[in-house]
Amino acid sequence: MKLLNSLRLRIATLFYPAQVNTEMEEELSSHIQLRADDLERSGLPRPEAERRARIEFGGREKYKEECHQALGNHFIETLIQDLRFSLRMLRKSPGFAIAAVLTLALAIGANAVVFGMLNGLLLRPLNVPRAQSLYAVQRGNATYIVQSYPDYLDLRDRNRSFDGLAAYTIAQAGLDTGKNPSTAWLFEVSGNYFDALGIQPYLGRFFHGSDEHGPNSAPYIVLSWAYWHSHFQDDSGVVGRTVQLSKHPFTILGVAPPQFHGTLLILSPDFFVPMVNAEQVDGVAFLNARGTRWVFEVLGRLKVGVTPAQATADLNAIGYYLGKTYPKDDGPTSFSLVRPGLHGDFFAPAARAFLAGLMLLAGLILLAACANLGSLFAARAADRGREVALRLALGSSRSRIVRQLFTEAVMISLAGGAAGLWASVVLLRWLSLWQPFPQFSMTIPVSPDASVYLVALLLALASGFLFGAIPVRQVLRTNPYEVVKSGSSGRAGRRLTVRDVLLVVQIAICAVLVTSSFVALRGLARSLHANFGFEPRNATLVETNLSLAGYRSDQLPIMQKRMIDAMEAIPGVTRAGLVDVPPLHMGWDVSPVFTDNMTDLRPWKAVAQAVTYKISPEYFQAAGTAMLAGRIFSLGDDKEAPRVAVVNQEFARQIFGSVSSALGSYYKMPDGTRVQVVGIAEDGKYTANIAEDPQPAMFLPILQSPANETWLVLRSSRDRQQLVAAIRSKLRDLDPGLPAFIQTWNEEMNGALFAPRMATASLGVLGLMGAMLSITGIFGMAAYSVSKRLRELGIRIALGAQRKEVLEAALGRALKLLAYGSAAGLLLGLLATRVLAFIVYQATPRDPLVLAGVVGAMSLLGLLATWIPAQRALSVNPVILLRAE
């Protein structure tokens, strides 16, 4: 208290200007002196006169206090009094205080984490100057943000709305600095990339638009700061050094500043190279192909004074021009502007829906915590009825008492908020350093900033006032006379109280959370055992890129055939096949398809967009994809033979109406080639989204549609390490310079399963929190009702009540409330599964396992929470209890 007193004095002097204080002091002293003068004149000796004057004046400190109040400056004083009193009250019941603070810490922490993610991914702009006016250009007719390079050039040169329009695309390449060759992720960017974004180099210089003079004219590298730090040990001598990138010499020009991580939130590139050199980096380039949309994103900053609407109109004028000039490649084209960072409408809506859903659930957690604390506070206020009545009787105003209760509530909520914020900051820091994929430098940019702290503070304050408000009515209605006369408020509340309603609400919310986490868990379990259209178990993938190893396209078929044969020669490998990109891997290929009788083959006239795979004949057996009808290709289906394809059921249904009519029929590719369907394969999952709807897919023989980047699929049940060693030695025999990345198919699928796993984990954590909250809520209520009614229970036992009757009297109400709450929550939770269907595979409310799981979990929670109070009720010893009264 000493500390608090000195603190109070110090704050008091802060808030009462020293001048006011000394003046007041001086005035009161002068009064006493004047009075003493008078008394002295009437014959008293001076010391006695001063003593009398002081006594006649009365309580000097008290009047000073009243003077301060009269001046209206007593807010802080009262606040400090309330804080002291609240601290004293809380110290008397540490269990209550700790439980309350922890509950809030959990709830506010959950909210701060989710808000931190929302803030980092959706609210915070990219870390570039004047990010508010930065927009990416999206093709308006699809959720389609990629562009072709010639279209980009037209957009860049013809628009009048942007201060430079930049482009970038993601690539992977081998970097050889002379010591250890390693693969790296890089951005191929337009020459004006850094200038358009307004970024200044940390070291050396950047390349500019003026450095580009046609294909492969600008072999320059700008390193990201992080890559320079980790791979070049902060060596400032790297500027000007020449390194081998995909076996071509490139010169390091400079290093980007530390806070610049590229223009895609989820992937930080290791370095940047000019897009005009794409052919050297990737082995292929489509700098002149207007129909090939491989430029990942086109973005730029609006000129000052240009609105997004004006810019869109400007772009659409260019779109009209493109559509007229290049009807075959572009067709009618419109554009729209989107926020850069999450690849336009491709990632952003999913991320938005997921985070909004999470935010909603986290808000529910906070609401449940507030209901929980509200009922605890109401119970406390009821217990403190005598104290409140006494204070009222002694002349305290009701508003003063309510104010003190609020001070207590806000104090707890701020403590909980601080604890929760601390935990969430730790978690967010960890998340932003987390690398979920070993091959892929993905970052989750969620490090907390000021707005996270602010939101946590506001939430803490709001929740403090929310649950602090619950006992107010109780206090306002207290009749001090009645309470003091009749002792403790021993009314056995039979009617529905606020506390009961709060408990039901809280349990309902918790049941919603438990339900949604069960639905998510079931969804994940189902997605792991879903039919993917291939069998990832016992399959191994070997990723190779022949063009990186220097193979020319006419050498590809021979080498690929040799690789397959070498793999099949490994003992224990039952089958090995080739595919250009395995299903469910990022980077699938989609092609428009047309019916055989169509002559207008412009892309937007297509009957379907089919996912396209280029495979060797062995692929189906190696991948475990079942054939439903027809035949698999053979080696005879080569360049000279008529074009053939195997399509999946969905393809057959969409293009031909049925499987039987599809077999042997023809369809057309965008270039007009007629392709005959020779076989039908089962449906599967193709794009990197486990929850996708059935999609049409076609499998083309790799001999008719060559691919230089291929994955070998091996089916083998051999021990993994032995198998990997065998694969490596076989590949080394074929070509020692061929880079290969080997992993099991299950490992590779981590990427596709990342989103559902994250969703399940987050929902699971929230469900767990909900469960914990409902335990504390029921426990609080049950324990309170048992302790209030110990005397009654004692009398019942003394009169011969059985265990069952005692339990029913003690806990019946709590359990009934639990049942109501759970039923309501289950119902709401099942309605909420519609929302979950966005992120959870086949989220369905009518799942008996989910229903049973929720009912079981809630009963278990009820049992757990009422166990201790029940023991206490049963162990009541009527003799001791009645004697004590």
């Binding site: 003046e23 002068s30 009064h31 002196q33 003068d37 009269a70």
Partner: protein
Amino acid sequence: VAHQAQLLPGTLDLLILRAVSLGPLHGYGVLLRIGQISGNALLIEQGALYPGLFRLVRQGLLKASWGTSDNNRRAKFYELTSAGRKRLREETESWNRLASAIACALSQQPEET
């Protein structure tokens, strides 16, 4: 002292205004003046005067300035503002109405009711 009357709540402010209306006074002077004009019939604890003075200053009814007392002590002197003068007039009227009404009520003889 035995015959002094307790103040009714709210009347202290009126007395202060009245006392100060006769000329600027320091706090102790206000107290003496009230004693003088009320014939020492009212019991006022000396310190209780000051919250009242501060309140009236805050309401803009009095203004205060430091000066020197008759016996050469520094003291804060209060005087009426124009708002204070107006308030004193209103309060005096309303008090007189109330007092005469109560006096009238109390002086009625039983048979006249």
